[in-house]
């Protein structure tokens, strides 16, 4: 079987995979990084969003072999030893999740959003940018709040306080 070498969350990784192995399968089934989820497996829902070379992509719609030489960042790579990433913290504080299944993809999409669009994100922008991420619990309201707060927090500004 062909081999692939890549960097995942800062660590060099080598694996042998079938050509048809998807990036998400390599991450979950071989590297045991199960934080990245598979929701729809049809590039609709966004549960599988990871960053490849700094850009958010749907890892169910990319072959593992295509990640040769790439830098991959998954939800597991965001937090440091005992400190959540500001975006993760914002989701916790603002109750940006219920069942949590879509959350890894939401957070990876949110971090990418901040990288591209900056720290001041209005509600309309956030809702538009979330069109590739589906949540079936929350109605998005608190996710949008979380992302606005997380975006600000990523600039090092004082974190937004939850309403209650």
């Amino acid at each position: 079987m062909p081999a692939v070498s890549l960097t995942v969350n800062g660590k060099a990784v080598k694996a042998t995979v079938e050509p048809r192995t998807l990036l998400v399968q390599l991450l979950r089934e071989q590297l045991r990084l199960t934080g990245t989820h598979v929701g729809c497996d049809t590039s609709q829902c966004g549960c599988c969003v990871v960053h490849v070379d700094g850009k958010a992509i749907k890892s169910c719609t990319m072959l593992a072999l295509q990640a040769e030489g790439a830098e991959v960042l998954t939800i597991e790579g965001l937090a440091t030893a005992d400190k959540l990433h500001p975006m993760q913290e914002a989701f916790r504080e603002n109750h940006g999740l219920q069942c949590g299944f879509c959350t890894p993809g939401m957070i990876m999409t949110a971090v990418d959003m901040v990288h591209r669009l900056g720290h001041e994100l209005d509600e309309r922008t956030i809702r538009e940018e979330l069109e590739g991420n589906i949540c079936r619990c929350t109605g998005y309201h608190n996710i949008v709040k979380s992302i606005a707060a997380g975006a600000k927090a990523m600039s090092g500004a004082p974190p937004h306080q939850a309403a209650e």
Partner: protein, 265 residues
């Protein structure tokens, strides 16, 4: 997805040779259509030739009066490119309406055009802007390129390298989006060029993207939404499905064409 043999092409010549050598091969560009299609087993190529490691295929530049976009340019690159936004803002806006942010990071202009999905956005831009599709063999004008549902003029061993768009005086794209798939239920691209007006329609045609000569003639006399008042297109030959009847699509073509003209100003 059925298994296949994966080949990573390092250059266009190598990719072309592989296409000649393997009878049942598919090119992999952004993969945002091909991979889902393979998962559904609607396609099961024996060989996949990955174009992603070929250098120099994703440039975006203004060459004289033409905006030239490399075939591997991602939708996100086209949408955010200052060059595109300045030369043909309607094209940047169209790229921004494709799929979602993650899909736009992978999907490519060449892949979209080669696939020629009847509901895709880029075919409308190519036909509407009178683009020229440059391949490893020749140059093909958009009017000759799109041949029907998922059919193009491309030979089996021919690869799109870039797309050249003449910079128009005015252009606008209006899309009525299917909210689930984010493809165009109907999309209309209107362009005012020095010599002609073009109205190109995607999503509605039973055999893919098409132009509307009656609208073009009316707009050539006077480029205003008012010129299209009372003009309709027949539902015959349009697509009808669970998302919208042929009559509904015919109606949308008129509405979106008027909005596009107003938008182009």
């Amino acid at each position: 997805m059925y298994n296949f043999t994966y080949h990573r092409a390092s250059g266009l010549r190598q990719a072309t040779n592989m296409l000649g050598k393997f009878a049942d091969a598919k090119l992999l560009a952004g993969g945002q259509t091909l991979l889902p299609t393979m998962k559904q087993r609607l396609a099961s190529p024996a060989d996949i030739i990955d174009l992603n490691k070929i250098e120099g295929m994703s440039g975006i530049e203004l060459k004289g009066r033409n905006l030239v976009i490399g075939a591997m340019a991602r939708h996100a690159d086209v949408a955010s490119s200052p060059v595109v936004r300045h030369a043909i803002p309607a094209l940047a806006a169209l790229a921004h309406m494709i799929g979602d942010p993650a899909v736009r990071h992978r999907g490519t202009i060449g892949g979209s055009i080669a696939n020629n999905d009847p509901n895709a956005d880029y075919p409308a831009a190519c036909l509407g802007l009178a683009a020229t599709i440059v391949t490893t063999k020749r140059k093909i004008v958009a009017d000759e390129f799109f041949k029907g549902l998922f059919e193009t003029a491309l030979a089996p061993d021919e690869i799109i390298t870039k797309v050249s768009f003449p910079v128009p005086k005015k252009a606008a794209y209006q899309k009525f989006r299917n909210p689930a798939s984010r493809f165009a239920l109907v999309g209309v691209f209107v362009t005012r060029r020095p010599s002609e007006v073009r109205v190109a329609v995607t999503g509605a045609g039973a055999s893919g993207v098409f132009r509307v000569p009656a609208f073009e003639a009316a707009l050539k006399k006077r480029f205003s939404p008012k010129s299209l008042e009372g003009l309709t297109i027949p539902a015959d030959g349009l697509a009808g499905d669970i998302h919208g009847s042929a009559e509904y699509r015919a109606h949308l073509v008129g509405v979106l064409a008027r909005r596009a003209v107003a938008d182009a100003g």
